[in-house]
Amino acid sequence: MAVLGRQPTDKAKSLYEPEPAEVVSVEKLTDLENVYALQLASGHPLGHLPGQFVQLALLGIGECPISICSSPTRPNTFELCVRRVGEVTEHIHRLREGDTIGVRGPLGNGFDVHELHGKDILIVAGGLGLAPVRSLIQYILDERARFGQFHLLYGARSPGELLFRNDLTLWRERDDVNFHMTVDRPDEQWRGRSGVVTTLFSEVPRLEPGETQVVIVGPPVMFKFVVLEVLARRIHQRNIFCSLERRMKCGVGKCGHCQANNVYVCLEGPVFRYGELKALREAIE
């Protein structure tokens, strides 16, 4: 085996070693989610694709996979939206501006943006699913001339859970994106639409099946209903993409935690074509 014969590079870098990054800013989005802008201590840009993720490490506490929620077209910093749900994310929420955190990545495949160039785009995001897909939304808006029509649908459970409110306002004001959002459970102040995200499809005009690429990211239940809606519009299965979540420990195809049948989500994913997923029995359950 060639690698076995190879001489070890002296003190070769470990696959598992994070590099330091500085917290440039912290913004509270909701009771549970903060968004962190980070900059690698090396000064290099992260060099990611929309849809990729990093392993975020707090040394002494642990690591967890987090999607990069900003576009590589904005390279000075990169952003991560972190929901506080357990041990590591709890500690991440204690970070302040100027603190240092460990980062490994970018990891995973990300969206193949070249395949999306020149096409009409429909993005449907539900809940925290907006985070991974925001990198792609920013990318499309920054490179707007490369894309055809752009439809964007977003659903959250309640108004209090809406993420990236500044972005939502911005997107609504732009006339080069057909943006609509809804909440499942409105409160008294809510003036917008209510109902599940599929109700927003009435705002999407006729789609050209061969010319439209669709990205769906959200909880599994939402995924099924949205796929149905999209297939009813005769979109090709190979043109529907989604991003999967799994338990992850290494992020580099070794530890086995992220397997969905024979697929390693950290390597071959997290972005998959719907056509591939259908054949993969453990993917959507």
Binding site: M1, V3, L4, G5, R6, P8, K11, A12, K13, S14, L15, Y16, E17, P18, P20, E22, A41, L59, G60, I61, G62, E63, V85, G86, T89, T100, G102, E245, R246, R247, K249, C250, V252, G253, K254, C255, G256, H257, Q259, A260, N261, N262, L267, R281, E282, E285
Partner: protein, 350 residues
């Protein structure tokens, strides 16, 4: 074709020579069982062992291993990777375990190179010992095409039938690598094979072919296809009813390589290590994410996952089989769940 013939005492002398510059890990007897363990002298090894309870995997991929050390301070943190490059010799490794090591070599060197495994592996000299007969009942290494190891060991030793001249066991040696060839030839151990030795070696091979029974009623190359058709079989649920989800099968498997990572913090709270430890897909928590969602909540789904990995998916991904037929999982299981029995039952699914 043999490269050399050595007696057992000459082989032990070779091991002592290896011990001058390497740690030695080989079969040692503890009460009535054998385990791979560290020794400082060859005469502490028992080369007449039948099999070792566990494979020598832990010598290359320790059950708990430091990946890197870190230090934190007001200006951030520093890390430095930890690699073990101390020379090692694994002695008395059977073909099944050599084939398992070939899989680990592949897994840790494909796509992303894992220096923590490879730095040890590069420094490891393997003395293989072939099995003339099944080492114990229940093994199905022949069915898995893993009771021979043409590659993987630096030298491979097959115990030749007695020649009537000496009582000492004689081994026909085949060099697997240049390192193996150089080591044996420079130490002038043993003799070049004679015509009689070659004949004895041929007899060894034909006796061996008869000595291993067939345990699975089809060629294992058909196994992936059989599994493909059995995903929704009731077999998984029926068998998994007995499963305790204890993970003993994973723990005893020479090819299981899944792991967990965790941080160890010193009392000062400013330095520590990132560790990795063996994990097992049969444990309930293996695929659990925050919010307690479990992607493989049922024991049946976990059992199916293990069998598919061993008999289909690993081979499809890595090109090297994921099961070597050593039956350690079958012996380790308190619920008497048997992989070879499952492979047999699959033949009945149409």
């Amino acid at each position: 074709m043999l490269d050399r013939v050595v007696s057992q005492s000459q082989l032990l002398a070779l091991v002592d020579e290896l011990a001058l510059s390497r740690r030695i890990v080989g079969p040692v007897r503890r009460s009535d069982r054998h385990f791979y363990g560290p020794v400082d002298r060859a005469d502490k090894l028992d080369l007449d062992f039948k099999y070792c309870v566990y494979s020598p995997k832990a010598a290359l991929f320790p059950a708990d291993q430091t990946l890197f050390e870190f230090q934190t301070g007001p200006d951030g943190f520093q890390t430095s990777p930890v690699y073990d490059e101390s020379p090692l010799a694994l002695v008395g490794v059977h073909p099944c375990d050599i084939n398992a090591i070939r899989l680990l070599d592949r897994v840790f060197s494909n796509t992303n190179i894992d220096e923590h495994y490879l730095s040890r592996r590069r420094q490891t000299f393997i003395v293989g010992i072939d099995c003339p007969t099944p080492c114990t009942s229940g093994v199905f290494c022949r069915d898995m095409k893993a009771n021979e190891a043409r590659e993987g060991a630096d030298i491979m030793c097959s115990p030749l039938p007695p020649n009537g001249v000496s009582d000492d066991v004689r081994y026909g040696v085949v060099f697997g690598t240049d390192a193996g060839r150089e080591f044996v030839l420079y130490s002038h151990a043993g003799d070049p094979p004679t015509v009689d030795d070659e004949r004895a070696s041929e007899r060894y091979i034909s006796d061996k072919a008869r000595a291993f029974p067939q345990s699975i009623p089809y060629d294992v190359d058909a196994l992936p296809e059989l599994l493909e058709r059995s995903y929704d079989s009731l077999l998984w649920e029926a068998t998994a009813r007995r499963c305790y989800s204890c993970g003993s099968c994973n723990l005893s498997c020479p090819t299981c390589y899944c792991f967990n990572t965790y941080d160890r913090l010193e009392m000062t709270l400013t330095s520590g290590t990132r560790q990795r430890e063996w994990d097992g897909c049969q444990l309930r928590s293996f695929a659990v994410v925050a919010g307690d969602h479990n992607f493989r909540a049922k024991a049946a789904a976990r059992l199916r996952h293990r069998i598919y990995r061993k008999a289909k998916w690993v081979k499809e991904r890595e090109g090297v089989a994921g099961c070597v037929g050593c039956a350690r999982c079958d012996r380790a299981c308190t619920a008497k769940i048997s992989s070879v029995e499952i492979y047999n039952q699959l033949a009945e699914e149409v």
